[in-house]
Symmetry: none
DNA sequence: TACAATATTAACGAATTATGTACAAGTTTT
DNA sequence: AAAACTTGTACATAATTCGTTAATATTGTA
């Protein structure tokens, strides 16, 4: 498999075939799925490299597929559908789709867009291991587990997600709005003081645990997970 | 301004304004360009973080802009144009555009697509760290961190932004009004003595640190960040 | 030199921003 | 159905920044 596996999720067999032919001609291998439930099973079992998704499908709907996929993975996901409302486009993109193509599509355009998304993704260092480690801190999002000095510390989901997000890009500052967007999700409309409170609760749990890292406030800007690689490797 | 600069290249002032307003509302700062030659100059000089490009523009055409940009940089580039042929779309994407949006556009969709592209780019290791370095001085705006001879020095946001702005164009003089415009934002209306005070506070922190650089007063004009590449590399 | 224009500095208070506590609504567990 | 927990909001308090003012110093020029 030189170019990778594409999972096509679409009820319409015509679309499926057009896409399948073009993709296989280009060297991809193709998996077809005609309803949402089947799609999720195949996604989990076969770990495709790209997903092409129509949101209008039987059983589990496309939006839900989107969410489920993005919970677990960052692979390229392109929505191809006849739902043409701006609202739907925005929803799809916000849920984590990389592109949103309208039916009827021109296969050449679709192939070009797949290529464009792939180009970006190949520049990424996607951490599929949903885990970060610093010194005595381990945040594992597959298990939703926080470990401090080897011991498991209970922490609610939101706090873990927030910590994980901050720790994924150590030392980089995020504004409260960015955090609300990325951790809470765009659908969330609320007070940005909310972030403060969660930060505070995290700090309670992580207080005085390590000299090497901490959650820092950047006054007037936001928060960051600060990590100092003190002592070089010896 | 944590979000970054957008360069809009488009002859049509209506489009420009719609985009500009929406982007600024979201916290981006916007640079406009109405022809290709000007666009390239601004691209090189101002190092934007995102480019929105109409390919139908006077002088150097959009495709060429695309090529020139991609020779030097991997920043997000989105084509927004009324050229609706599949051929053009494919060409644009092949030249390295991340997305291709048709006019007339819905601003909500455009914003969602910008976000989607940004999401991908932020996962890549080519995250542009907004940083300048001179001798023993490091100003890092991604971390909001000022480092002098390796040591972190605390400094409030405004001071950092001012220093970063000055240091981004070493040896170039800025009037107080220009600085108020660029650092404080155009909507700011206040005394230009304000700049003096911030300069003073910066100088306190950076006093006698290096022979190679300093913040100089240009009498009757304004301020500049002066940098002398004395000694060649040793 | 003297004078005017411009720049530096210190100090103060208003405004902005962050934190901590408490509570209520919503969930999940028992 | 009650209990325990999570989550978001409100508000009081604390901390810091920022802009202004005004007094002092410096520079350029007549």
């Amino acid at each position: 498999m030189p170019l990778g596996k594409v999972l096509i999720i679409d009820e319409d067999k015509n679309s499926c075939n057009t896409l399948k032919n073009a993709l296989e001609k280009d060297g991809y291998s193709v998996i077809l799925s005609h309803d949402g439930d089947e799609a999720l099973i195949k996604f989990n079992a076969l770990k495709p490299d790209i997903i092409l998704l129509d949101v209008v499908i039987p059983k589990t709907d496309g939006w839900q597929i989107c969410r489920e996929v993005r919970k677990k993975s960052n692979i390229p996901l392109i929505i191809i559908t006849s739902k043409s409302e701006t609202f739907d486009k925005v929803l799809g993109l916000e849920l984590g789709a990389d592109d949103y193509i309208l039916k009827p599509f021109d296969i050449k355009e679709v192939m070009a867009r797949i290529k464009a998304v792939n180009r970006r993704v190949n520049q990424s260092n996607i951490i599929e291991t949903r885990e970060v480690t610093y010194d005595n801190l381990v945040v594992n999002m597959s298990r939703y587990e926080l470990r401090v000095s080897g011991k498991i510390k209970d922490a609610p989901p939101k706090e873990l997600e927030l910590l994980f997000y901050l720790a994924s890009n150590p030392n980089r500052v995020y504004t409260r709005d960015q955090l609300l967007d990325e951790v809470w999700g765009f659908e969330y409309y609320g007070d940005s003081r909310t972030v403060d409170v969660h930060i505070k609760r995290l700090r309670e749990k992580l207080d005085g645990v390590s000299e090497q890292w901490s959650i820092k406030t950047v006054w007037g800007v936001g928060y960051k997970f600060e990590f100092n690689e003190k002592f070089g490797d010896t």
